[in-house]
């Protein structure tokens, strides 16, 4: 398969006044991939995502989006290329699900233009594709965590872009919703969408990824096929625990080992 890069990151450095977060990151996201960013808390995963979305600015290095450096894009133009799905959080005002989903259309409007009938149609269609039509009139604040995450995914669909960036999409979801969301990602991927997602779970990375990128201490320390990258030694190096990798039904699972009771 010929690689067709969407996002390319070269020698990226980022630091807060007293703390260096990224120390020379090179990274590429190609068309059609599902890339899982794996790494412990504070390794720089979320920082990398925020840099790509131009929410913060690097101290050094370059980010390219479709052959143009990100500095030449406005947020509006970035939103026409990438949809960002944040971790769901509480909104102080209780918008309906439909209102929330329609907000995904803002980059498509003129500056003062009001949302049109077409925007509403796109919003309903997105809800339908995620399978949550019935939530349209419910207040967003009263949904469960899983439903909220699905709504944010529907909102991303209304942006009508092919690249999705997700920050810890399954965090706070119960087990069933975690698996349902991963299935949805894998389904959408077969329909031509590209995903970059951060995750805390090696298991999830093994389940739904075409490539895994492991970060630690602000650097990328491994990058490749999930089964090749996620190994017992990598888990020990990065997370400081022992784990076995077990193959079952043509799938690899990561199982932490408990030697003396609870680790």
């Amino acid at each position: 398969m010929e690689l067709n890069p969407i996002i390319t990151v070269n020698d990226l450095h980022f630091s807060y006044p007293k703390q260096s977060v990224l120390e020379g990151v090179d990274f590429t996201l190609n068309h059609g991939e599902i890339v899982s960013l794996l790494g412990p808390n504070g390794c720089g995963k979320s920082t990398l995502i925020r840099l790509i979305l131009k929410l913060i600015h690097p101290n050094q290095g370059e980010i390219w989006l479709d052959n143009k450096t990100i500095n030449r894009y406005s947020h509006r133009e970035i939103a026409k290329h990438i949809a960002y799905i944040p971790q769901y959080n509480n909104v102080p005002f209780n918008y309906s699900v439909l209102e929330m989903v329609m907000m995904g259309r803002v980059a498509k409007h003129g500056f003062f233009a009001a949302p049109s009938a077409k925007d509403k149609e796109v919003a309903h269609e997105s809800l339908h594709r995620i399978g949550i039509d019935d939530l349209a009139q419910r207040p967003f604040g009263q949904l469960s965590g899983g439903q909220k995450q699905m709504v944010l995914l529907a909102r991303a669909l209304t942006q009508q872009v092919n690249t999705f960036i997700m920050d810890e999409p399954v965090s706070g979801l119960d087990y069933g919703n975690q698996i349902r969301l991963l299935k949805l990602i894998s389904q959408l991927s077969t329909q031509g969408y590209t995903f970059l997602k951060t995750t805390h779970y090696p298991d999830h990375a093994l389940m739904v990824s075409s490539r895994v990128v492991v970060m630690n201490g602000g650097k990328i320390i491994a990058n490749g096929k999930p089964e090749e990258v996620i190994t017992s030694s990598m888990i020990r190096d990065v997370y400081g625990i022992d784990a076995d990798l077990i193959s079952h039904n043509r799938h690899t699972w990561c199982i932490p080992t408990f030697n003396k009771g609870i680790v």
Binding site: L53, L55, A79, P86, F93, N94, M103, V106, A114, Q159
Partner: protein, 339 residues
């Protein structure tokens, strides 16, 4: 469907406002009956032969009641819309022009203007500048103590900012001539619509209406900004630009209300809350509806106080007396949504 709902809600509210406006023009110490009013209206609009009654009506309606009615509408609208805009900008349902210190800052600016200059535009400009400085102080203090998006810290920042400018205002009062300037400042600050004259109202109406229309035009972005900066940016909103415009417009509208009628509290806090409870939080309806309902509220309060009481109560005192219990009820009902 959505548009039809929006349109019908806004037009019904507008009808109510017009009705109260007519009632307010007709009722008072000298009641005017509807028939006479229609005749007068016809005479004013289409010309024709006038008589002595119409000269008297010119005095009562054009010189006395109309400026006051228009001012109540303008100020009610400005304060309610500014309150809704500030609440969206700071992602904080507890802020308003009063709570952020804008009214205190603008009062100080306007009083300073009265002290150093006779020029009307100097008073307005200083009111706006210090209103803006007051928001800045509130945000700085709120952000200094905690970096995160803290509802309470911003409110406390506003309390500090408000106190600072109230103290500075006291300095101005202390320095003012106790026989002329001081009583003027004190009475004006209590919040009063009685000093309205048509010319002054028409002049100030231009920037006020433009600010309100500007906020209505930006209202679709307010929904997005209330999701938080990063989410709004990622969805394609130019957050610094929208926030700057909205804060300037909201500060301008509320500062001018202070210049015209002193400190009128609570309108900017309670009206957006009541509307949110009634029609939901979407700002594309909330902002224009706040403009109309804010106007209805203040006009109604002023009309009732004018009719029911033999003595004039400054409107600022009245809105506080009404606003506080209403806000307590709102707080109780809305608490669940904020957590």
């Amino acid at each position: 469907m959505l548009r039809f709902k929006t349109f019908s809600i806004l037009s019904s509210a507008m009808m109510v406002l017009l009705l109260i406006m007519v009632v307010s023009l007709l009722w008072g110490q000298y009641p005017i009956d509807f028939h006479t009013f229609m005749g007068y209206l016809e005479f004013k609009l289409l010309g024709g032969s006038g008589n002595d009654t119409y000269t008297l009506l010119d005095n009562i309606i054009l010189q006395i009641r109309l400026p006051r009615v228009l001012l109540a509408i303008l100020i009610g609208s400005s304060l309610a819309v500014s309150g809704a805009a500030f609440q969206a900008m700071f992602v904080n349902p507890l802020v308003s022009p009063g709570i952020l210190g804008v009214l205190a800052g603008a009062s100080f600016g306007a009083a300073l203007g009265m002290l150093i200059s006779e020029q009307w535009y100097v008073v307005q400009l200083l009111a706006f500048i210090f209103g803006f400085v007051a928001v800045g102080v509130a945000v700085l203090i709120g952000g200094m103590v905690s970096n995160s998006r803290s509802t309470i810290m911003l409110v406390l920042g506003g309390v500090i900012s408000g106190s600072l400018f109230t103290a500075l205002l006291s300095v101005i009062k202390y320095m003012a001539d106790p026989y002329s300037t001081l009583p003027a400042i004190v009475y004006w600050l209590m919040g009063s619509l009685t000093m309205a004259d048509l010319h002054g109202v028409l002049i100030v109406s231009i920037p006020m209406i433009l600010s309100i229309l500007g906020m209505v035009a930006l209202s679709k972005y307010f929904d997005l900004l209330s999701l938080g900066d990063e989410e709004a940016k990622a969805l394609g909103v130019n957050v610094p630009l929208i926030r700057f415009l909205a804060i300037v417009l909201a500060t301008l509208a509320s500062s001018l209300s202070v210049v015209m009628a002193g400190m009128i509290g609570w309108v900017g806090l309670i009206i957006p809350h009541i509307i949110r409870m009634a029609v939901g939080p979407s700002h594309r309806l909330l902002i224009p509806l706040s403009a109309i309902v804010g106007a209805i509220f203040l006009l109604l309060a002023d009309t009732v106080s004018r009719l029911a009481l033999s003595v004039e109560i400054p409107i600022g005192i009245l809105t506080s007396l009404i606003g506080i219990p209403v806000f307590i009820i709102v707080l109780k009902n809305a608490r669940a949504a904020w957590n």
